[in-house]
Subunit: 188 residues, 2 copies
């Protein structure tokens, strides 16, 4: 099984090393991890954004599953590029898995991020826009998309020191994928 | 043609009115606008997040196209729930259209949002993570996803006074959809 490794990890200073570690975890469970940076065939050459897009989409089309890193990125919610990919894989019927290394609920994160105020039955952010307050870790589309197209979001039980390098929740996703494969009826 | 009207508009204080105005624009071009809030069948009853998800996904499955509002939301990029939906519709082969009412480029928005610094050939944010610097309005997955699965992101030529109520760019998307339909070979 090939697993597409989605997430803002590609923007880390040690993005290549993080991808290598994720692929190693996958290999331990008998999977092939497909990491977007593996697409940058020739880092010396000028790679256009369109080439990266085409390569990422081709990787998603080759993959049987996605593990999306939904750890909040530049705001209270997940990276929008990563959630685009999660929606893409859900619609293609691929096995959808995801994790966040942030233990907080979405509404509490918005509270810290912009401040919130209660207005009748609604929670509003600083701009006066309604804050989703269902006790979920992020926007309901991703949370329930994972549940219905794969497996519930994996979250840490306690605060994690290094949000971007701790692979415990990531490995839980890989283990869940391995369990799904073991319990799936044999095909072919 | 039925168009799914995606965007953080559903979080506005006047979300229902905005949806009504968007549906009116669609009707003027002969389309049916499907707006997520139309799903909250009984606002008095307790609607669970899972019911909202299922209703939104069913609406997307019924729709022939999506117009995604990618105006930045609670951060420098688009709403992650909306981009999930855009990826979903792209993978289903639906016509993908989108707009942003913010004229700025992504890198400039991160500059205002967290500050950035130049490090060799890379632009880094305050956390030291690489900032996409391709001269695009947002993450390349959405920008090129729109180009390859529909039409390029519609952006304003100049700053817009009311980011959340100006429907000029939205109407441009509807007009583009109408043009696509007019030029498509007749079927059925």
């Amino acid at each position: 099984m090939r697993i597409y490794l989605a997430g803002p990890d590609v923007f880390l200073p040690d993005a290549i090393e993080v991808g290598r570690r994720k692929a190693e975890v996958c290999a331990r469970y008998g999977f092939t991890g497909l990491y977007p940076l593996d697409n940058t065939i020739d880092l010396a050459a000028t790679v256009t954004s369109l080439q990266i897009f085409r390569a990422n989409e081709a990787m998603m089309d080759q993959a049987d599953a996605i593990i999306a890193n939904l750890t909040p990125f530049r705001g209270p919610g997940a990276d929008p590029g990563t959630t685009y990919e999660l929606g893409y894989m859900a619609a293609r019927g691929k096995l959808c898995l995801g994790y966040s290394n942030d233990a907080a609920l979405y509404a509490d994160r918005v509270r810290r991020f912009t401040g919130v105020k209660q207005h009748h039955e609604h929670l509003l952010d600083a701009e006066g826009m309604t804050v989703e307050n269902f006790g979920l870790a992020d926007n309901l589309m991703m949370i329930h998309g994972l549940e219905l197209h794969g497996c519930a979001l994996v979250r840490p039980r306690q605060a994690i020191a290094d949000l971007w390098h701790d692979l415990t929740a990531f490995e839980s996703c890989v283990r869940i994928a391995a369990g799904r494969l073991a319990s799936a009826p044999a095909s072919g």
